[in-house]
């Protein structure tokens, strides 16, 4: 079949628009489409189906093999992975993305497999944050280390880490208050929280999970950059993918910073947490 280059251009433009509408951002969308355009020019791709498949494959290879490590969570209860002590996760991110809810879901995942889980109430600022976490500990069967009145977050995390060690918990999940990556004072406080965990338990935190709200646009990259620089991020949690947003802005995060997606939030309930499935993610982008 003879297929004109203009037709290819039309297909490529439509696909670029589809990427943009999925929050890839114009730069990343253009870069991905341009690479495919090269393949069209070289004659490697002959039909709109070829083009779509090539585009899908290039996005898949981007998200499936990030340079910054595997999408497996660091967790080995009682094993040497955490030096025999509790595994520690620090959960961070901007306001309202789903950190506290994700902790509740994560706790449930591990308690339902027999692990002993402790939650640390590291959000000492927001109204009813402690009560919200306490209710999640009840729902998930985890214990909770509450903040004492007027305590600073790094002190709460330090105490929780010591308790996790002393009482032989398998996993410690540390909540932190939402904060904008543009606030130097709050980013410094987060760095201090991380150091506090490390001094209580050498090797901790074994994961620093950045929660990214799936409805967010291109700002995801700025968030990931700043949180990465301040506290070091080992994995991403992409939430609210049960909504209409496709979370495409995360692709630029993986492409430019190499941080792997480890978890996906798909609802507000205890069970609504999934391990990242690259193929499913890409399928949702190109239905």
């Amino acid at each position: 079949t003879y297929w004109r280059l203009e037709d290819a251009d039309a297909t490529l433009e439509d696909l670029e628009d589809a990427l943009i509408s999925s929050d890839f951002g114009p730069q990343t969308a253009f870069k991905i489409v341009d690479a495919v355009r090269e393949q069209v020019r070289s004659g490697a791709l002959r039909t709109p189906e070829d083009i779509k498949a090539a585009l899908r494959d290039s996005v898949l290879s981007l998200v499936a093999r990030p340079s910054g490590g595997s999408s497996e969570l660091a967790f080995a209860p009682g094993s040497d992975a955490a030096g025999g002590g509790p595994t520690v996760y620090l959960i961070v991110g901007v306001n309202g993305g789903g950190k506290t809810t994700t902790i509740g879901k994560l706790a449930h995942r591990f308690t339902s497999r027999g692990a002993r889980v402790l939650l640390a109430a590291g959000d000492t600022f927001r109204a009813a944050a402690g009560e919200q976490l306490r209710l999640w500990s009840q729902r998930s069967g985890a214990e909770v280390e509450a903040a004492s009145a007027g305590a600073r977050p790094d002190a709460v995390l330090f105490r929780a880490a010591q308790r996790a060690q002393r009482e032989a918990f398998d996993l410690l999940l540390c909540d932190s208050s939402g904060r904008l990556h543009t606030d130097p004072g709050l980013m410094a406080e987060l760095a201090k929280c991380r150091r506090s965990l490390a001094s209580a338990l050498p090797g901790a935190p074994h994961e620093v999970l950045l929660v990214l709200d799936g409805t967010t646009g291109v700002n995801m990259l700025a968030q990931a950059r700043e949180f990465g620089a301040s506290v070091g991020v080992t994995g991403l949690v992409l939430t609210k993918l049960d909504g209409t947003s496709r979370g495409g802005a995360v692709v630029s995060v993986i492409d430019q910073l190499g941080v792997p997606i480890k978890l996906v939030g798909v609802g507000e309930g205890l069970e609504d947490l999934q391990f990242f499935d690259p193929a499913a993610f890409v399928d949702a982008l190109f239905p």
Binding site: D17, I20, S21, S22, D23, G25, P26, Q27, V94, N95, G96, G97, G98, G104, F125, R126, A127, A128, E131, Q132, R134, L135, W136, R139, G178, L180, H181, T182, D213, T215, T216, G217, V218, N219, A222, K240, D242, G243, T244, S245, A249, E268
Partner: protein
Amino acid sequence: TLSQSLNKAWGMVQKDARLTPENMKAPLREIRRALLEADVPLMVVRPFIARVEGRALGAAVTKGVSPQQQLVKIVYDELVILMGGKQVSLNVPEGGEPQVILMAGLQGTGKTTTAAKLAAFLKNKGGRVMLVATDVYRPAAIEQLVVLGGQVGVPVFERGLNVPPADIAREGVALAKEEGMDTVIIDTAGRLQIDATLMQELQEISSAVRPTDTLLVVDAMTGQEAAGLVKTFNTTVPLTGAIVTKLDGDARGGAALAVKEVSGCPIKFVGMGEKTDALELFYPDRMASRILA
């Protein structure tokens, strides 16, 4: 900045005295890219660029103003026009009835915090304000509003977790009228616009209390879906305005354009921080500058 990238685009064009369809191609592509980079939804960018082009082609030549300066000015002016031109405040009902303000939006956008901020704002202007807690789903949501109400010195009406939200709202507004309140602000649970059950619930709350303002609370960092979600919320409960939150960050806030373009509703306030005094009036020209930055 937009003017920097436009400089680059114009650099490829000779020093023309007027804007033509040909010499505008590259600059319009740059403007499109800049708006998308600011999270303005694609379905809002397209008609906007068409309006800019139409206005630019019809524009008279101004002595001493380069075509590119003219284009930047047109883009800025169109943004301000789109955003609503001037500041719009809350509706004030007739005959001494209280203002009834209904907060709505996706999960985590800042509704509960903003309800308290709005209460503080109106209380400081001398009004008697009451808050109503109808989020019976999120753990400790009622508690959160009660604590915030305490912080700003405003009473919070709640009926626990087992009364339907529409009934809580109805009872709260009835009590507010009885007590001679000037304003009653109803906080609601975050919901997906594609959740039929919860969108129906929002409709029921609205029918039960007949709000004088229904405000969509939108996160400044919201991406391309802003247009779709505004549309769905607006067809479910007619919106009268919006509040854009977390503008103290560095998200450009393209979703703000979507609000006005899709619903025709003005943005009435912006959230500029986590504290209960971090609520400001919305200024269209400031938003235009932020999007073009």
